[in-house]
Amino acid sequence: MTLNPYFEVLFTAVLTIGFIIVTSLGLGQLARFIARQVGASKRHQENTFTGYAFAAPWIVGFLIFVIVPLGYSFYWSFTDYRVTENTPPNWIGLDNYARLITNDPGFRSSIVNTLYLTAVGLPLMIAVALFLAVLLNQKTRGERVFRMAFYLPVILGFNTAVLLAWRLMLNTGTGIINQLIRALSTAFPPISYLNRGIIFVQELISALFLGISSGKFTLLNRVWEAGFPAANRVPMWVESPLWTKMSVVLLMIWGCGSMMLIFLSGLNNIPRELHDAADVDGANNWQHFWKISFPLLTPYVFYNLIVGLIACLQIFEPIYVLYRDSQPLVPSTISMVYYLWQASFRNFEIGYGSAISWVILLIIMAVTAIQFMIQKRWVNYDLY
């Protein structure tokens, strides 16, 4: 292509659209043909044609851009491919998988960490997002500005500037968050006890999980021996392996703007008539929420749950951004995908990394399937 790159991609795009239309119609015809052979009704055949034709863009894209690379990845997972060696991959069968499942404490602890982050972070994210959405749904002045502020973290993403700002905020001594905690603790003694209590409990739980992932509980003993924290203790956020996971959770909650947006639109979707009728019956805010809003929000909760679950199980960015310069703290918070990235792009063992990604995929599939199976109990679609 001798054209300049802008024309080149526009040209390719037009070709692609043509390609998609052709394959869609083709796929639809094929599906209808099969349906006719099987003896389906005319209506059914038409639906089959439409269904496949409309879904074809995704299906074709899946075949080209997912299946082919997945095929490579699958093949590599059975080899010892190291991209930096000048040798072609050697077939080693199930060795990678065997080592991964039975002989890799690093991977195991990454699973523990990921499960912790998901079990703690996801409910918090959904709860905070829901809470913020409900708050913003009240008519307040400047609500557009507030909405923007809460969505800002998503817009900013996790770049170096954001990282710097977070480092400032999370510093143990002078960071804003701890200064707030300190100020509140000195002003109200009960809060001081609450603060120290929470710190103690958090450190115990964290040490417990670290012990589970490493098999040794020395840290747990030490935390217990140290006893109830002194009066000047504050959370250590990014400076202690006991707090690394909480700081990641904090970052996760900070970025819950997308979920909040979905809840907001869901809340808006609820017909006013329902709320008005409840007002006539004398319902208070609590009942408004739990009897009307929440049940009608369940499809959105489900969406956020599934997408959030998958995102949490795949968590990588917040950990990388917070801890890439503090290597000693990484093992305490390493997630499955971080472990995958480390194997593939630091050790350059693409073969082993591919095996890791398949195992991760299976784990996520299992967890998601369970979610789907129990959804029938609590999710109600309006009129479907």
Binding site: M1, T2, L3, N4, P5, Y6, F7, L10, V83, T84, E85, N86, T87, G106, L164, R167, L168, N171, T172, G173, T174, G175, N178, R182, K216, T218, L219, R222, E225, A226, P229, A230, N232, R233, V234, M236, V238, E239, S240, P241, D325, S326, Q327, P328, L329, V330, P331, S332, Q342, S344, F345, R346, N347, F348, I350
Partner: protein, 443 residues
């Protein structure tokens, strides 16, 4: 409505790109172009850079590339300005696809990582082919794999111990481990109200844990420690290794106290930790800094009158083999083995690494040239750079030749992390590193 806006946007972008000057896009267009009807097949030499400033690129494009293209008609040089974020994924792509830039900018310890996939350049750049090679300093070792040259080092970025002579209590610099621990105790202040440090005696690479693996290696080398035994197995069970790990623990506890105290680190901020705040005249908190020059204040700051630059002296009291060490990170340009133009690559390298060129390249980045004879001008004009260059040539030890460097870093960081939290004793830490590293190497 929105669709209309987007269509309008696309149309305008098409118009803009049609009007936009085609010059910036000509280089890539030519690279992917069907060969023009010329006598020779046009060839593009692709170079992927990570260590540069806008001035570096401007100079390369105005001086080096035109000269090279004049000497090699039909060859175009294409420089890609990459960034250190995402380099690993990018490089993985190149080598997996077996296609990509001919010359790649690598980091110091990557010679063992990419070694097998890099071209043996001895026949082009070795002493027999290019006598100039003898002018390169110790940094040249970083550019070798299995004894063969694979490229050329650009600069040397060693790590020194910078100390504030006006703040330090006690004699400077501490010359053995016991002195360092005493120094740490005497020069560290903890604020009871916030339970964090307000002054830290020594800030090594990682201020919080004070147990970064690169720092550990620096201390180890200063004791005369060797990373591998004669048979190639790791040497973490040596007495030097034990002393190093113990030193890490002692220094950390002399600074932060026992782990249970949960003392917080210095306040975060921008700018160097050993500098002084212009407005408040308050110190940034560190008395000594063991890091690269770029973590130290800018050279024109007045605080330099009170900063000494020293190597790390090891522990001659207990280890007679101790020597002062300055751990040097030497980034370099390597030639990929998949390159079809190794000879052209060599020629370009020779042009970009003459005495004047190496000097100019580093001048644009304020770093120390890898060639000894290029260390003039701005290097000797600045007292700090002059001292740094001297120390580097006397005591420089390259950060290279580490097998499975990435895995070792993970292994060491994990174990050293447990040292800080007192989960493992120094002996246990070293045993764990030794065991895991053996497995990693055995693969």
């Amino acid at each position: 409505m929105r669709t209309k806006i987007f269509i309008l946007l696309i149309l305008t972008s098409v118009l803009f790109s049609a009007c936009a000057s085609p010059t910036p896009t000509q280089a890539p267009a030519e690279a992917t172009t069907v060969p023009e009807p010329a006598a020779a097949e046009p060839v593009t030499l692709k170079i992927y850079l990570l260590d540069y400033t806008p001035d570096t690129i401007a100079w390369l494009k105005s001086d080096i590339n035109p000269a090279f293209e004049a000497a090699h008609p039909g060859v175009t040089v294409e420089i890609t300005e990459g960034s250190w974020s995402g380099w690993d994924t990018t490089f993985a792509g190149f080598f997996a696809a077996g296609e990509g830039p001919d010359i790649i900018n690598l980091g110091s310890e990557m010679n063992t990582l990419y070694g097998p996939s890099l071209a043996d350049m001895e026949q082009y750049l070795g002493a027999a082919a290019w006598p100039d090679i003898s002018n390169f300093g110790p940094a040249l070792e970083n550019a070798k794999f299995e004894g063969k040259l694979r490229g050329l080092p650009i600069f040397t970025a060693p790590r020194y111990v910078f100390c504030r002579t006006d703040l330090a209590v006690g004699s400077l610099p501490p010359k053995n481990f016991a002195d360092w621990v005493a120094f740490a105790k005497a020069n560290t202040t903890i604020d009871a109200a916030t339970n964090s440090l307000t002054q830290q005696a020594l800030v090594p690479v990682d201020a919080g844990s004070m147990a970064d693996w690169q720092w550990w290696l620096l201390v180890y080398y200063s004791l005369g420690g060797q990373l591998y035994k004669a048979d190639g197995t790791p040497n973490f069970d040596s007495p030097e290794a034990l002393a190093t790990t113990q030193f890490m623990l002692d220094m950390r506890q002399a600074t932060y106290g026992p782990a249970a105290d949960a003392v917080g680190a210095l306040p975060a901020g921008q700018g160097s930790v050993i500098d002084i705040n212009d407005e408040t005249a308050a110190n940034n908190g560190a008395v000594c800094l063991a890091h690269s020059g770029w973590a130290a204040p800018a050279f024109d700051r007045p605080v330099w009158e009170n900063i000494s630059i020293e190597p790390f002296y090891g522990d001659p009291a207990n280890f007679p083999n101790s020597k002062p060490v300055v751990l040097a990170f030497n980034d370099w340009l390597a030639v990929a083995d998949y390159s079809k133009h190794k000879d052209l690559a060599a020629d370009w390298l020779k042009m970009a690494f003459t005495k004047e060129a190496n000097h100019k390249w580093n001048e644009t980045m304020s770093l120390i040239p890898s060639r000894n004879d290029a260390q003039y001008g701005y290097v000797t004009d600045s007292p700090q750079l002059k001292k740094e260059a001297e120390l580097a040539s006397k005591y420089g030890v390259g950060f290279a030749g580490i097998a499975e460097a990435a895995k070792l870093s993970v292994i060491m960081q994990e174990a050293l992390g447990k040292l800080i939290t007192e989960e493992l004793t120094p002996a246990e830490v070293n045993a764990q590193i030794q065991e895991q590293y053996l497995i990693a190497l055995g693969k």
